[in-house]
Each structure stands twice: as structure tokens, then as C-alpha cells.
């Protein structure tokens, strides 16, 4: 099960991030966001990186981080994407991309893999999102469009299973609407499950007291507060 040290360690990391970054610099690109997430993952953590942008986090983990990657299709200690010549059709990640195996890997079947997720054994999972609410509700599986074919995969299992759920997303949609919202308008993936949101403009902690910006990039907290309907905690 592993001791409950994620919280303490990653909060400490985030605080130092915040001190360095509040109001500083420019908006982050997706690789910078991934680097930031990677920096907040404690040594030796068991982590699931969702399909899409979260996968980039792996590229920013230090070689000696000891972080163990889980893929929900039945593996722990997954290695990087397979290069030409390494491709094994029996070895893919959850996005069906060929990957590799690190020493100390273990394989297990789907029910065991999702028991591991649902049972709260993963320290962190990192997911993309359409929307996150101020209460930590997550919407990332369905746009709600009437003609959309619903497809959920493992998103709901990850959302409610991991000890900590980190979201990576741009803060605003292409139409300019915020994706951090008082109430999700898209169908939910999980209720009250998000702990922290990494965006191009800021990092937010979702706490029982409310949402707090712990770092901003190229904007001030005041400017953000003006553009968001979710109230931001100050101090």
C-alpha cells in the first residue's frame, strides 16, 4: 500500500514551485507543464499517466526518480515508448502505443489492474480534462454533444481510484471559455476527485476550502480571478 507520504512531499514541492513562479514568466507550453507535473511527483511514486498530454510527463522524470509507471492494460514499471526495432505487439500502453519494459516490471490481468486502481494503490494519476469544477469534479470523457458516441475507457476508474488526481489542461478552451468552472457542464467522469490542476497559466490546488492558485505564469492571480467564475482563495 505504501505510506501516505505523497501528500506531504508533493505539497512541499508545489509550495516551492509556487514561490518561484507566482506572477512570473510567460504562459507554459505543454512540455513545460509536463515538466512541472514531473517535478511534483515524489521519488518512488506509483503513477498512471493518462492518454494524451499526460504521457509527456514521463519524459521529464529524472532518470533516478524511481517513479514506477502503471498502465491500466496490466503492467507496472512500464518503460518509454518502443523505438524502431523494439516494437512488440504484445506490449503496449493504454493508448495502444508500443512501449518497453523496465527491470522489476510485473504483468497482471485487467481485473487485477483495475482492482489496483480502484483500491487506492496508485499514488498519483495525471489526466487530461474538458472541465474541472471548483469542488474537484472532473469531466473528461464526453462532450455531451447529442450525436457523440459515448466511450469512457478507464477514465472513471482512474478518476476515483488514485490517491491524488492531477489534471493537465489549458485553462481556457479554444472559444475562450474557462475550463476551471463552478459546475461542470459536460458529463462528469468523477465527483470531487481532482486534487490539483496544472494549466498553461496557473497551477491550482483544489482544497476543501476552495480553489487556490499556487503558481501563475505570465498573469497575476488578480487577472485570473477576473477571467474565472470560480472564486480563488487568497493567501
Amino acid at each position: 500500500m505504501n505510506a501516505n507520504t505523497v501528500n506531504a512531499t508533493s505539497t512541499a514541492n508545489a509550495t516551492s514551485t509556487a514561490n518561484a513562479a507566482i506572477g512570473a514568466g510567460a504562459p507554459l507550453g505543454k512540455h513545460e507543464m509536463a515538466a512541472l507535473v514531473a517535478r511534483d511527483i515524489p521519488r518512488g511514486a506509483f503513477v498512471n499517466l493518462g492518454i494524451g498530454q499526460p504521457t509527456l510527463v514521463a519524459d521529464h522524470l529524472p532518470a533516478d526518480s524511481g517513479v514506477v509507471l502503471h498502465t491500466e492494460n496490466g503492467m507496472l514499471n512500464m518503460g518509454p515508448a518502443a523505438k524502431e526495432g523494439e516494437i512488440d505487439p504484445d506490449l503496449t500502453n493504454a493508448g495502444k502505443v508500443p512501449v518497453t519494459e523496465l527491470p522489476g516490471a510485473a504483468y497482471f490481468h485487467h481485473a487485477d489492474s483495475f482492482a489496483m486502481m480502484r483500491g487506492g494503490h496508485l499514488d498519483i494519476c495525471v489526466l487530461g480534462a474538458f472541465q474541472v469544477s471548483g469542488r474537484g469534479d472532473l469531466a473528461n470523457w464526453h462532450t455531451g454533444a447529442p450525436d457523440a458516441i459515448p466511450a469512457v475507457g478507464g477514465a472513471m476508474d482512474l478518476a476515483i481510484g488514485a490517491k491524488k488526481v492531477f489534471v493537465m489542461m489549458t485553462l481556457f478552451a479554444k472559444d475562450g471559455s474557462p475550463k476551471l468552472v463552478p459546475e461542470c457542464t459536460y458529463p462528469l467522469t468523477g465527483l470531487g476527485c481532482v486534487d490539483r490542476v496544472y494549466t498553461d497559466l496557473a497551477v491550482f490546488d483544489v482544497t476543501p476550502e476552495g480553489v487556490k492558485a499556487t503558481a501563475t505564469f505570465g498573469v497575476t492571480v488578480e487577472e485570473l480571478a477576473e477571467r474565472l467564475e470560480v472564486p480563488l482563495l487568497t493567501a
Binding site: D90, Y107, G154
Partner: protein
């Protein structure tokens, strides 16, 4: 009873009846029992319910079975993919039913069927669209959704090796749904790359014991 070692995939799928619920292993192509699905297409059973993680890709395999109009309903976690045009067209034109199930609930409901569990309370999906209309219960302050087993008449799975008794081992992430599906169907049919002598698999590493396996066929491309 004793496993049947089949000479050909057509022999392995013989007798699958119209209206059957068919569990189909695989996650993407890993563990997908391609030759068994092709044999099922030839075999002709229709009005099927297919339980699988996806709903077919491209124009072959499950997609081809769907394209023939042989599947009444799909129970899966992720039908929509870049190359799921066969399913997409059937679904949009109202010619196929869909039950979307979170991936872990799919695995656990299949396991429950194999393990004789009548139903279970699961936190996944609570408060979402996919739990609408389902019974819920608060346990220790958390909301759980009551989920029922998914049992198959037939399971078609891909494994790496079988011994002559029907013990199965898988390889890497191709294991995925195979082991739970093997516990949850009346008739379990496995496609393997190699059939080895009994006694040559490590008893500590057997993932699906022979008790679960009814028919085994070695892949033709390797036979």
C-alpha cells in the same frame, strides 16, 4: 472436462448458437483472438451480444462481424476510435445497441460472473451518466453503485501458450481480459501461438488453469 485440442479454428467455434453472448478478449490487437473471430464470421451465428473492450477497428475482425449485421448489442468500454467506422455507422443508424461500461467495471463484472458473486457495490461512475438508473448505497460515507455480473455463453480469447491439458500462459500486456473472460463463459475457446507438452509450463506461472478452458487451437499462421 478434458480440453479439446482443435485442428482448425472452424472446429474450435463450432456450435456457437444464434443469440449467444460472446466475450472477446484483447485490448487493441494485443490478445485479440483474430483467427477465432474470423472463424466465427464463417460459422454464421447471428443476433450476438459481444462483450469486449472495443467495438472493432478498421474492416477486419470484430468490425467485419459487425459489418455482417451479426451483432445485436455491444457491451464495451471504448467503442469510439479513429478507425471504428463500422461500429459508428451502425450505431448512428440505430442498427446496434450499445452499453458503455467503465473499463474496470467491465473487468470486475466479468470476474464476478466467473467467481459466483451475485452483484457488488462499486464506486466507479457514481454520480455520472453511466450510473443513471442504477441502485446506489452509501457505505462508510462513500457512494457505491450496484453492478451485476456479465456472463458469456462463449469466450474467445488469445493466449501465448497452452499445454495439452489446457493450462494457459499469456505474454506481456496481451494478458488483459483473457484470464477473467476464461472464468466467465460456459464454453471457453482459446487461440494460442503454441501448444506445448503437459508439464512444460511452470505451475507457478500458469495464469488460466485448465479447468477454465474447453477448446484450444494453435494459430494457423504458426502451425
Amino acid at each position: 472436462m478434458t480440453v479439446r485440442l482443435c485442428a482448425h479454428a472452424d472446429e474450435a467455434v463450432a456450435g456457437i448458437e444464434d443469440g449467444s453472448t460472446v466475450l472477446v478478449g484483447g485490448f487493441g490487437m494485443a490478445g485479440m483472438p483474430v483467427e477465432l473471430i474470423d472463424a466465427l464470421i464463417r460459422q454464421g451465428a447471428k443476433d450476438l451480444t459481444v462483450v469486449s473492450n472495443n467495438a472493432g477497428n478498421g474492416d477486419t475482425g470484430l468490425a467485419a462481424l459487425l459489418a455482417e449485421g451479426r451483432v445485436r448489442k455491444v457491451i464495451c468500454s471504448f467503442p469510439r476510435q479513429t478507425d471504428s467506422w463500422v461500429f459508428d455507422e451502425l450505431y448512428r443508424s440505430g442498427r446496434i445497441e450499445l452499453e458503455v461500461v467503465p473499463q474496470g467495471n467491465l473487468a470486475e463484472r466479468i470476474r464476478a460472473a466467473g467467481a459466483g458473486i451475485g452483484a457488488f457495490y462499486c464506486p466507479t461512475g457514481a454520480g455520472t451518466l453511466l450510473a443513471e438508473g442504477k441502485e446506489t448505497r452509501e457505505i462508510d460515507g462513500r457512494t457505491y453503485v450496484l453492478e451485476y455480473p456479465i456472463k458469456g455463453d462463449v469466450a474467445l480469447i488469445g493466449a501465448h501458450r497452452a499445454d495439452r491439458m489446457g493450462n494457459l500462459v499469456y505474454r506481456r500486456t496481451a494478458r488483459n481480459f483473457g484470464p477473467v473472460m476464461a472464468t466467465a463463459a460456459t464454453t471457453v475457446i482459446a487461440q494460442v501461438r503454441e501448444i506445448v507438452e503437459t508439464g512444460s509450463l511452470d505451475p507457478e506461472a500458469v495464469v488460466t488453469p485448465s479447468i477454465y478452458v474447453d477448446r484450444v487451437v494453435q494459430e494457423a499462421q504458426r502451425a
